[in-house]
């Protein structure tokens, strides 16, 4: 299927000029099919550079990226075709909408794949369904929708390619809380129903704690931590020292522990905290 294997990946921007900068270095990872992975790291830690290697938008300075066993940079064709397999949703994707209607914009990807009309229509309906865009909006101009709706149309445009791997760069940035919740629910539903691998770049530790089965923390272009949310959030001091935060529930649990309340380690969602506090109080 679409297992991702990254070997010794390194990328240098503007190589050979005074502006030369190593963005990522020495990254080796294996992401099996179907995992829900959160990529954490502060601005400039290399996570955006990293995800652009996974669909061959950027070519490695050294190292390899394999998707489903094939080196995606093998030749021009694999570099192009890997885009159907690995769908990448950029930050603020609503700024890339350009078609006259919502339907046509979602259909842009499938059309580039060279699919037939019926197949395209089926995929557009399916993708719109995943992100909760109603069919009555299909003939509207995407530029006249609300911010949250635009974002969901843009995500549908990538989902419509039915990628085995879906990567989203900060999908909830700049949305109101209701919009954030809805988008995260849409993504989780897509992952459950399609069995796709999902990678989410995020600054929101609560989202990451809630949705992801695995967290990869980037720092200065390297992988600083890689593990389950329990493992990663049980090292709060390290996280804070590289400029990240812990989920609100973990922070609160730390404060409570400092006050002498006996709480178990590895608390990172509100539900876990609530359960632990209830247990301590004996109810």
């Amino acid at each position: 299927m679409s297992e991702i294997i990254v070997e010794e990946l390194r990328h240098v921007y503007s190589a050979g000029t005074p502006f030369e900068k190593t963005a990522i270095e020495n990254i080796s990872l294996r992401i099996p099919q179907g995992q829900f992975v959160g990529l954490l790291g502060h601005t400039g830690s290399g996570k955006s550079t990293f995800v652009q290697h996974l669909n061959a938008l950027l070519q490695p300075s050294s190292g390899r990226v394999l998707v489903g066993g094939t080196d995606i940079n093998k030749d021009k064709k694999t570099r192009h075709d890997v885009k159907w397999q690995v769908g990448l949703v950029f930050q603020y994707p609503e700024y890339q909408l350009f078609e006259e209607t919502v339907f046509a914009d979602i259909a842009f990807g499938p059309k580039n794949m060279g699919l037939g009309r019926e197949e395209i229509e089926e995929r557009v309906r399916e993708a719109a369904g995943f992100v909760g865009i109603e069919e009555k909006l299909f003939n509207e101009s995407p530029l006249e929708l609300s911010g949250g709706q635009k974002r969901r149309v843009a995500i549908a445009g990538v989902i419509a390619m039915r990628p085995g791997v879906l990567i989203l760069d900060e999908p909830t940035a700049g949305l109101d809380p209701a919009g954030c919740r809805q988008i995260m629910e849409n993504i989780r539903a897509y992952q459950r129903q399609s069995g796709a691998t999902v990678l989410i770049v995020s600054h929101n530790m609560d989202d990451a704690a809630r949705s992801c089965g695995r967290l990869i923390v980037f720092d200065h272009g390297r992988v600083a931590m890689d593990g389950t949310p329990e493992e990663v959030f049980s090292r709060p001091r390290e996280l804070i020292s590289i400029g990240l935060a812990v989920p609100q529930a973990t922070a609160l649990a730390m404060e409570l522990r400092a006050l002498g309340v006996k709480l178990p380690e590895a608390i990172y969602t509100h539900e876990q905290l609530l359960a632990a506090v209830k247990e301590v109080r004996g109810c």
Binding site: H80, L88, F108, M161
Partner: protein
């Protein structure tokens, strides 16, 4: 790739050249270009070359940076040189050849002229911030205000355009990546197909440019911007002694070129 365009780039520094008043530098560039086009003998070209090298040394601008900026012009330079090389009549280098000694001389002079022309203007933008440049332009053109020419508005538009070039380049890069991720193909296909493929870039780019323009207008109005009338500046342009000396040297340079030209050197 798009980011590598050096057009109009500014290299911050604190050399004599950087400290000169932008008006002085603008006038110098005018004098320099006039001198360059008046020079017709080898001595004249040597003088222009010498002046350029001197300014580069004083401004700490490396030849490498000039040559990097020349790269987009390479085709025009080669074409001009080739035309002059093959289409100048005179004594052939060897009997029967089309290439003449006069042709070689003219080709070299044309290359020098284009390279020096570009180098001169690059030295201006490399050592003067866009802000200072438009300020200087505004002051130099201010006599035109008497003729109701909107000098302030024009220079404001210029500085905004300069300010937004890098932003729009970055934006274009981003939109291109996003559309490529959806399988858009900008490199293959016929001319018409490729022109059509630009649509997914141009529409979002225009939308965002208008949005930015709108936001900028609101930001300016909320800070009570009301045009150039009665507006004061944080940084006043002052002509120092070095500026007058530089201008005197500029006139001397032009005079020297004309003397050389008079004697056919």
């Amino acid at each position: 790739m798009l980011k590598d365009i050096t057009l109009g780039q500014y290299f911050p520094g604190n050399t004599v050249i950087h400290r000169l008043d932008p008006r002085t530098k603008l006038l110098w560039v005018v004098l320099f270009i006039v001198g360059l086009f008046q020079a017709n003998g080898w001595a004249g070209y040597a003088l222009v070359l010498l002046v350029t090298a001197l300014v580069m040394a004083l401004g700490h601008i490396r030849p490498k940076n000039i040559f990097k900026g020349l790269r987009p012009m390479l085709f025009i330079i080669i074409l001009t040189a080739a035309l002059n090389l093959f289409y100048t009549s005179g004594t052939p280098v060897r009997p029967g050849w089309i290439v003449t000694w006069e042709g070689i001389a003219r080709a070299v002079k044309m290359i020098l002229r284009i390279v020096l022309l570009i180098a001169g203007t690059f030295l201006l933008t490399y050592t003067t911030s866009p802000m200072a440049l438009t300020d200087g332009m505004e002051r130099l053109l201010s006599p035109l205000k008497k003729l109701h020419f909107p000098v302030h508005e024009m220079t404001l538009m210029m500085s905004m355009a300069l300010r937004f070039i890098p932003t729009l380049i970055e934006e274009t890069d981003k939109i291109m990546s996003a559309q490529k991720a959806r399988g858009a193909d900008f490199e293959n296909g016929s001319l018409i197909q490729r022109a059509k493929a630009l649509l997914p870039i141009l529409v979002p780019l225009f939308v965002s440019a208008f949005r930015r323009a709108d936001e900028l207008a609101v930001a300016m109005e909320s800070r009570c911007y009301h045009g150039g009338e009665g507006r004061t500046r944080l940084k006043q342009l002052v002509m120092a002694r070095r500026d007058w000396i530089a201008l005197a040297l500029g006139l001397l340079f032009l005079a020297a070129i004309n003397v050389l030209r008079h004697f056919g050197l």
